[in-house]
């Protein structure tokens, strides 16, 4: 899967889990906890859905290090390799 394909899938899941984000432009540089409508519970939901869709597991304490949308894409990309 290419990075662009992962990014597109991430956006689809984010919008699905937190519909309030649909009007927001989510770039790779978008900071998750300050630039978006995603709260901690919404983020938990997104990570769980991403893990299920991509068939990966991101350790709990790694979640805290996911600062931007690009970080999320990178974390998935790394685990798919």
């Amino acid at each position: 899967m290419t990075r662009t394909e992962i990014y597109d899938k991430v956006l689809e899941i984010v919008h699905d889990c937190v519909p309030e984000t649909e009007e927001q432009e989510l770039k790779e540089s978008t900071v998750i906890n300050t630039d978006t409508a995603i709260d901690s519970m919404g983020f938990t939901l997104i990570i769980c859905r991403l893990e299920a869709v991509f068939g990966i597991k991101i350790p709990d304490r790694q979640w805290q290090k996911l600062y931007t949308v690009g970080d999320v894409v990178t974390a998935i990309e790394k685990r798919l390799k």
Partner: protein, 457 residues
Amino acid sequence: MRTGVLERDADFLALLQRQAALRPERPALRFAEGCLTYRQLLDRVGLEAEHWLQSGKRCLALLCDGSPDCVFTIFGAAAAGLQLVLLDGNLPEEEIRRLLRAADADALWGQDSLEEDMTPALGGGVPQAPGSLLFFTSGTTGSARAVVLTQAGLCASAWNGSALLPLFPRDTLLCLLPLNHVFGFVCGLLWGLRCGACVALGRGPRYYGEDLKRFRPTAVSVVPTLLGFLLKRQALNEELKLVLIGAGDCPPALPAALKGLGIRVSFGYGLTETSSGVALSLGEDPYAMTVCPEDRVRLGEDGEILIESETCMMRGYYRDPAATAEVLQNGVLHTGDLGRFDEKGLLRITGRKKEILVFPDGTKLYLPEYEAKLRTRLPEREFAVLELEGSPVLYLRGKEEERGAVTAALEPLMRELPLARRLKALYLDPAPLPRTATGKIQRWIIKQKVVSQYDKN
């Protein structure tokens, strides 16, 4: 051995021994991989105690993950007389290192989850509180401090819960909250064990939406944020009959939604410093609370809630006598929270002392009450009122283009208020408000943000 329901337990081991004698074959712990009876749990804890007795260690820090092994280790090391430090396993490694040093830890449980070796941070000091547990407060008004709590105090706090809200051996209490928070530790774990119920250990945040339907609890303790999530996801199970809400301001819509589902709601008030709950609501009104039997509550002249408790009160902040003396004077804890007793003698929380604005004319403004007024004009919005240069200002989650609509919505209310009580500024921010792990709004962080960012512009 006395086994009456009124008996208090001197420590965790005594609690487990009593339950193992009373109901050895009843389930004590359920978890993803299986189940342990009270007898098996006691045996497992005994093995852990033996291990820690022989280890020569004096202060064990745990990166709490809520697993069965984590629970066995806490009880076993406590039985061996070690000082325990319960930490959030998701903290940045630099912060973990700092807290290990601050707590004089010489052993760490959960190191495997870290990338960096913490050994250099261990063994630097002499533990000052053997047999006690250190909890770091979540800190709504300042940075976290380590609170020293005794096993007897935590057991007494669990006894408080069992006296006012008894569970029964056929009940299952689901433990969803982190054990490094005193509310999670007491109301998610000890309360159930104290009552001889079965405690089901949740599988962590990624399973919040599934664990109720997997473990089918009859009771669960939650913070408001988590409850909102569970309701939104329709994650509650049919068998659930009691939800204990604590550790944060709770919007009325949440208990109302539970009642609509026929689930009993109890709201708890307590602090880390009091080993969790001091008062619990027992009747129809979730905000009217009965003071727990092990605590005495009175109000200061300004309405501040003052608490005394021989059993549940903290021993102090670890290695910080000055900070301890600030809040604990002659055995009386000055909570910084404001309350009143209603006509039925029930305690109602009205705000925080530090959230009072005092105007030049001597009149006062209680920010939570002020926010309640604003909420009538801004329902469903997330906001906080802050004091800035002696005036109330509104910090609202929203977009800049909403400024006109928000201002218009508030205008009728502002017109009714004296000039000094009108909002002086509106700050809009699309991000969620910063909250503690238990959902409390962190006004001090918002204020720092406002002062450092907006005033520059």
